[in-house]
Amino acid sequence: MSKIYEIPILSRGRVIMPSEGDSVEYGGRTGARFRCPNPHKHVHDLVLGDAGKLQDLHDMPMSKVLDFLAALGPRLKLSENPYLQDSFEMAIEAGGLTKPLMTQLYERLPSMFDRKSLEARVEKAIGIKYLDSWVPQGETEPAASIRVRAVGCRQFHITAGNVPITAPGTVISGSLTKSDCLIKTPSNDPLTANAVVRTMIDMDPSHPVTKHFAVAYWKGGDAFMDSEIIRTSRIDKITAWGGMASMQHIQKYLVPGLDLVAMNPKFSLSIVGKEAFESDATMREAGAGLANAAGKFNQTACSSTRIVYVESDTDEDSIQRLIQLGEYVYESLQNLPEYFSTPADKPNPELEAEMRAIESEDDFYWVKGDTVKGAVVVSKFDGKVDFAGELTNRVVNLIPLTDLASMLGEINDRSQTIGVYPASLRVRLRDQLAIRGAQRMLLLSSQIRDAVEEGAVAALPHDGNETLRRQVRWMIDQGPEA
């Protein structure tokens, strides 16, 4: 029998532990088991019924908020923070990432709270003066009499758990928008948000930032919780990650006045131009870039490349070159550093079966690898594998296209990150990709690992959304200054 974790509800500076007569147990079948206070009894601890209570955070200058976050960062060292150690252990058990990767992600937590980059981010996205004051919209009338302010509000976050940085990311965006945040944690990462906010409580339970966080787990689809929480009297904006499962539940409570920021699931891909075949060196370069784009976070992220369109004919010679590119991708996958990408802990039986089933069809496919080591599937015709939607565990599909433009029809709102090689192709395709819905382009090269790392911060806006701007309310104060 595995360990049962005790997960408290965090309510605006208070820690409510599960207790005799006030506990519910969750999990067990695939993830970790944990016990929480009965959320049904704590609705009022979770929501901020009186929006007027946001005054304290509203009055606090952004510099003070940033000071607080900057002080929080160093306390989020995995080696020193027992809450994080628990959440780390649990994320390993419940989530889909291997230990070396999880370690690397957790070790990055302090740097996510770097004051300079947070300040730059909020300045760029919203403008600190808009958060701290009423900003006249011009120097002359009538604009001078129109003042605008970015006002924090009551946010409800239904977060994703496939990568644990979603949790601190949510804490950061809540703080930077001077908002009251209720975070509903996912079963695949039930504790990271909890650990971050609990560390805040240890620092200063009465700090206005601390006082505007509530964190709890309850089972998605709990109609009681949804109906109690998702009301315009209690929540202003919802940020919901995930697909049907999480959206379906909140759907019927969405009414005018409730703003939904939907972080729906994404499917990322890469495009490789014929220049990749110019020399062995260019092939290796493109191959290494693809391995990085697919291997990042072990292909669990929304930005992970799963399919690759390659400018290539489908005659025998061309296919042989494509297979050589596939060999380089595979080789690079095997050589990615452990902190960045690792073999999977266990095979994915469904995907493995799909791969084994097409392996014998060498008229149509070339397959190398498996769902533990990672794999490359080369299509010998101009189409992706029919299970492209299920690609994970570092399995990529290379597809030859005589005319790269023929893949543009595939681009839509789910196309989050598109890796491109070489740079000239990026410029050639950029506008078409953009108007069809793609959200981010990234040059593929053997050097992109560090760029990808920084990209986690630099690649905002996320999902083509100016989320920070959307998470505040923009209010107008009109008339001469009194």
């Binding site: 496939n162 996912p186 049907m244 499962a245 929304c302 039986p349 469904e350 492209a388 939607g389």
Partner: protein, 461 residues
């Protein structure tokens, strides 16, 4: 008295009485199964190309124990491991080359000229001596089970045998008017079985009554996804599809919308027209429940003759809000003792009837194995849960080894309360494909499926 089965001719086994087959002691049964399996392997090893590829790769040269065949059973996906595009583009040369790897027949001799539809391709293959059944994926990708007339005798015999064992009515002597709320003809395996054996089961096509008297087009199943996508873009006319097919699609969508109503009306009529007669009623649980509830609400009572049977399965998917006692409602309304059920899949001929104790028993001509999570053979002892894997000894021209998509619990000991021997499957079958993602885990990385579900939500469906 014991019976004698020859390992050389499993196709004759289903001609034995089911009570005799189910009375075989385990040792005897497993010995003849293994002997037959060895012969099947020798016969097929180098004559079915896809099997040869797999056996070469796995290094399987001989079968000593039943478990030895597990690594060379075809995953059910092998029967659809062609690229969907060649089917969508109706590239019949490539499709035939692909299918040729799954049969002992030489399909290179089939004349492919003038073919325009998947249905016409299947018909052409059938005029050559094949019998092709498809299963339907919701994505439009069809599995092709490439049997032939050589498989037909055993296939027909087991079809009648499972009916006799499962319902107590022997179709060899009692032909019953039969009701199926489905299409009259089609290549999808369930529909195909119904029409193929209508003489044996019902006494002729005039005694088999279907909800819609039309053909279920394979081409529509194949093109549904593509047509939907084209329609979204307003480019349906650019697909270069036979207008007849587009009209059929419209009809199908229309039928889908009013199906619930049609089922009610259709059952209503049969209840009146066949009062006092012995009949066989088939259909999904959801259809039967719908009809039974509607009839009960109207105060109708079926008065069929004794010996009437209801044959059903399929769960109550897509039917929300049915009361817990929906089974009783069906039984009461149709005036039968029980609902007869059987378990099987398109790739295997010998369906397993449900016994009086509620288990599905496989006949000796289906060798039952279980695969564990890492592809290993689970012990064929006691009670085990794993992936259902069979070797269909009735398969003459195709390879009978198939790994299904079902998670099942099998009791291997001969200790069923019903008295029948042989491995039996609990009535708790689950599709592996339906088990994923049900755990409240939220992720930003999208499979296409998750996205499509999301889009359904956006569209308000």
């Amino acid at each position: 008295m014991p019976i004698s089965l020859l390992p050389e001719s499993p196709g004759g086994w289903p001609e034995r009485h089911h009570d005799d087959l189910f009375a075989m002691p385990r040792k005897e049964r497993e010995a003849v199964q293994l002997a037959a399996l060895k012969l099947r392997f020798e016969r097929c090893r180098n004559r079915i190309p896809a099997l040869k590829t797999l056996a070469d790769k796995q290094g399987v040269e001989r079968i000593e124990r039943v478990e030895d065949v597990l690594p060379i059973c075809f995953d059910h996906r092998v029967l659809k491991n062609y690229p969907l595009t060649i089917l969508e583009n109706r590239d019949f040369a490539k499709l035939t080359t692909w299918l040729n790897k799954l049969t002992m027949h030489d399909l290179t001799k089939v004349d492919l000229s003038g073919l325009t539809t998947v249905d016409s391709w299947i018909a052409r293959l059938e005029s050559y001596g094949m019998i092709i059944g498809t299963s339907s994926g919701t994505t439009g990708k069809l599995s092709f089970v490439a049997r032939s007339l050589d498989d037909l005798p055993g296939w027909r015999a087991t079809w009648m045998q499972q009916s006799t064992a499962g319902t107590g009515i022997n179709p060899r002597s009692t032909k019953l008017p039969t009701f199926t709320p489905a299409y009259r003809t089609g290549n999808q395996m369930a529909i195909k079985n119904g029409s193929m054996f209508e003489n044996e089961m019902c006494g002729g096509p005039q005694h088999r009554h279907t909800l819609y008297d039309m053909h279920m087009s394979s081409d529509l199943m194949v093109l549904s996804g593509k047509m939907q996508a084209a329609e979204e873009k307003g480019e349906l006319d650019k697909l270069n599809i036979d207008p007849e097919l587009i009209a059929q699609r419209r009809q199908l969508i229309e039928q889908g919308r009013r199906r619930a109503h049609d089922v009610e009306v259709w059952f209503d009529k049969l209840v009146r027209d066949f009062r006092g007669q012995q009949v066989r009623i088939g259909g999904l649980f959801s259809d039967l429940y719908r009809a039974a509830q509607a009839g009960t609400d109207k105060g109708i009572k079926c008065e069929f003759a004794p010996g009437t049977v209801v044959v059903s399965g399929g769960g109550m998917k897509g039917f929300k809000g049915a009361p817990d006692n929906w089974r009783e409602i069906i039984i009461d309304f149709f005036g039968v003792d029980r609902i007869c059920q059987s378990y099987g899949f398109s790739e295997n001929m010998g369906n397993a009837p449900m016994c009086s104790a509620g288990y599905y028993h496989f006949f000796p001509y289906t060798i039952v194995m279980l695969m564990g999570p890492n592809g290993e053979a689970l012990p064929r002892e006691g009670v085990q849960k794993g992936r259902m894997t069979v070797h269909d000894l009735l398969a003459e021209s195709v390879w009978g080894g198939v790994v299904s998509g079902d998670e099942v619990t099998v009791h291997f000991e001969d200790d069923c309360a019903c008295g029948w021997k042989g491995p039996r499957v609990e009535n708790s079958i689950r599709r592996y494909s339906e088990m994923e993602g049900g755990d409240d885990k939220i992720t930003c990385s999208g499979s296409a499926k998750a996205y499509d579900e999301f889009m359904d939500y956006v569209a308000g469906q």
